[in-house]
């Protein structure tokens, strides 16, 4: 009941409405806000992109590289067991950064801030302490070992004594981001992932040349920031170009010699994912071994890019971002799995006749590049 209001009358309803216009407006406003909020209620999630055709069923990545029987590949490799890690007696506690094979098929494994040397049979021979941030190592034919660390290369004699070292960097003094080192006769080749090229040094650190600058397409594209390479006895360097999914070949003076490889998820001959192959090694009979991530596998190629063999992902941890490779004189492949900290060895068991076809190459129409000047 409101004061100063006529007791009864026709103006009652109108008056009341007039006096209560404000609450009514507030109610309308509030309910309008609720309706606005209700209209903004999240709709069922749906895709914005509409494809006109039904997409093909996706290929699960782990099966993209099947372990085909020997009838499919020309060569088959079988695991011979682990040298370090896995079921072996020797274990690395916290890291495994690289492996190398030296004279007499000695295996050098870098991890935990030290180098462990194994005889070909598998027994531990020596343990040397090295700088803790070493990222790669190489063993020369005379038994000298060099390791690469950011901005530095250190050299050790066959007994493990530190005999020298030098700073590696560019002309402006920026330290090189060394991700791989290799001996070639008396020279040391170091991959500089920051500058995206390979530097040639002599033992004392004098830079003799650069590799990777002369390609017309430009120098390496390294989305994952890692450059790996290997050099064979003739001085041909095979380096990974992960952004282009290629294995590139170079002469020691930097002349580009060709490349092979392309991206592909279905054909086992291709390299999967965004940046592969991450590691490469060359065998004594001229074959090229590559390591990939995302589908962690190791493949063996002819120098012109034909796939010879595949060591499937069931052997390695799927979280690996590297599979460090080394090959010994018998053609056995050593693979270092840094997640499991395991060095496994694979030996070839079968070699098909030379003209046996590769099954998937025919169906997928993979591209092979012969040696070509680029």
């Amino acid at each position: 009941m409101k004061p100063q209001q006529p007791e009864a009358g026709e103006g009652n309803l109108l008056d009341r409405l007039r006096k209560s216009w404000f609450p009514a407006a507030a109610v309308v406003g509030a309910l309008a806000s609720f309706i606005a909020a209700a209209l903004r209620l999240r709709p069922e999630p749906g895709t914005v992109l509409q494809t006109t055709e039904k997409p093909a069923p996706p290929v699960p990545p782990q099966q993209a590289g099947p372990n085909l029987p020997a009838g499919g590949f020309k060569r088959e490799y079988r695991k011979s067991g682990s040298l370090v890690g896995g079921a072996a007696a020797q274990q690395f506690r916290s890291s495994l950064a690289g492996i190398a094979v030296g004279p007499g098929d000695r295996v050098y494994a870098l991890g935990d801030g030290e180098i462990r040397t194994f005889e070909a049979g598998g027994s531990l021979v020596a343990v040397w302490k090295v700088v803790p941030n070493a990222s790669c190592l190489a063993a020369g034919s005379d038994g000298h070992v060099c390791i690469g660390a950011p901005g530095r290369v250190e050299i050790y004699d066959p007994a493990g004594r530190h005999t020298g070292g030098f700073a590696a960097g560019d002309s402006a003094g920026r330290p090189a981001g060394i991700t791989a080192v290799k001996w070639f006769r008396d020279e040391i080749l170091a991959a500089d992932a920051d500058a995206r090229l390979i530097r040639r040094y002599d033992r004392h650190g004098k830079q003799l040349g650069l590799i990777g600058t002369k390609a017309r397409a430009g120098s390496f594209i390294l989305p994952n920031g890692w450059l790996d390479f290997d050099v064979d006895a003739q001085g041909v360097i095979r380096a990974t170009d992960t952004g282009r999914h290629q294995v590139t070949a170079w002469a020691l003076d930097g002349t580009p010699l060709g490349s092979f490889g392309k991206f592909g998820m279905g054909n086992p001959e291709d390299f999967v994912g965004c940046c592969n192959p991450v590691n490469v090694a060359v065998t004594h009979d001229g074959k090229i071994v590559t390591g990939e991530k995302m589908v962690a596998r190791v493949k063996v190629y002819e120098p012109d890019g034909r796939l010879l063999a595949l060591v499937g992902p069931e052997n390695f941890d799927p979280k690996c971002i590297h599979l460090h490779l080394a090959v010994d004189s018998k053609g056995w492949i050593l693979v270092a799995d840094p997640v499991r900290r395991e060095v496994s060895r694979f030996f070839p068991v079968a070699e098909a006749a030379d003209n046996a076809p590769l099954r998937d190459r025919e169906t997928a129409g993979g591209i092979r590049q012969e040696y070509a000047r680029i």
Partner: protein, 325 residues
């Protein structure tokens, strides 16, 4: 660009830790793009600055001060309504209902039970200042500053009286809700009865079941909007249902308001015992012709209807028309 040096450490720390987890020794450098591309720095928008949070405290202090003056000194319903509209606009729609003293109950509880819980000075002020004001001047916060109270107050169309017994029973709910909110905020719930086990983590019940937050944000889940709309509809006919029968902070305020130094006095000078104020009060807070300090929400409606007030305002000989039963 990262605009404040002070906020950088957290983001950079996370980024650096993340990168070092991937490459323990070698840190990858970004590529050399060639061309004219310059490397962008990531934008990390900053949260509201401390100065803007201080503004919240300032508005609270101003609102309480202005409310005290309007309710106790100036005794104006129009003034209180304007103040509550302003509070609704700022604390409700601009700040989207968050920060509020009702929710601060939970923060204060949690900070007392968990010493590592970060609580800011504004939360402390937001919780304690309206309580201190209640101890001094009554439920000024409810009358002029609380946005939840304001929205219910503004949509009040046709207040109906709730039966006394029902009202008294419902007035226990805020204490129950307060207890539950404190329990869940400080400890969560965990007990076993025989084979039946209940494990509930700590949660902020008041924030999760805030009926009007969907309105203030103009977005929300369906059940939140439905509860809010329900309270608005109820509020059209039963004055301030949330404030009277659910608000846990109101429970605290009503306890303290009982002992306030000065409080709402319906008449400016002498009591008439005519009972017009009791008819006017939509909240049933006038008992025995006096404003019940515990339940008076300081809306200032009763002033308008008191004949003594009208005399004071110079209504002259125009007295109230009383409809005799």
């Amino acid at each position: 660009m990262i605009r404040s040096r002070r906020f950088r450490p957290l983001i950079l720390l996370l980024m650096v830790l993340a990168s070092s987890a991937l490459f323990a020794q070698y840190q990858r450098k970004p590529p050399d793009f060639g061309g004219s591309y310059s490397f962008p720095s990531p934008e990390h928008p900053e949260p509201r600055s401390e100065w803007v949070r201080l503004l919240d405290v300032g508005m609270l202090v101003a609102g309480l001060a202005l409310g005290t003056w309007l309710i106790l000194k100036r005794r104006s319903r129009g003034g209180v309504m304007l103040l509550s509209i302003g509070a609704l606009a700022y604390f409700g729609f601009y700040r989207k209902g968050c920060i509020c003293p009702i929710g601060a109950i939970q923060n204060v509880t949690l900070s007392l039970t968990d010493p590592s819980y970060i609580v800011s000075l504004s939360i402390v002020v937001f919780f304690f200042l309206p309580l201190a004001t209640a101890l001094l001047f009554g439920r000024i916060f409810c009358g002029g500053v609380c946005p939840i109270g304001a929205i219910q107050d503004l949509v009040l169309l046709r207040p109906r009286k709730v039966p006394e017994k029902l009202d008294r029973a419902l007035r226990w709910l805020p204490y129950l809700y307060l207890g539950l909110a404190v329990l869940f905020a400080g400890w969560g719930l965990g007990f076993k009865i025989g084979a039946w086990e209940v494990q509930a983590a700590r949660r902020f019940l008041i924030c999760e079941y805030d009926p009007f937050i969907g309105l203030f944000r103009i977005s929300g889940a369906f059940h939140m909007l439905a509860i809010g709309a329900g309270f608005i509809l109820a509020g059209m006919f039963f004055g301030r249902p949330y404030c009277r029968w659910l608000c846990p902070y109101g429970a605290l305020l009503s306890i303290l308001s009982r002992f306030s130094w000065k409080n709402v006095q319906v008449t400016p000078d002498k009591e008439l015992d005519c009972g017009l104020c009791a008819d006017a009060c939509p909240y049933g807070a006038i008992h025995n012709y006096r404003a019940d300090r515990a339940s008076c929400l300081a809306c200032a409606r009763c002033y308008e209807y008191c004949p003594r007030e009208q005399v004071l305002r110079g209504a002259g000989d125009e007295f109230v028309q009383v409809k005799l039963p």
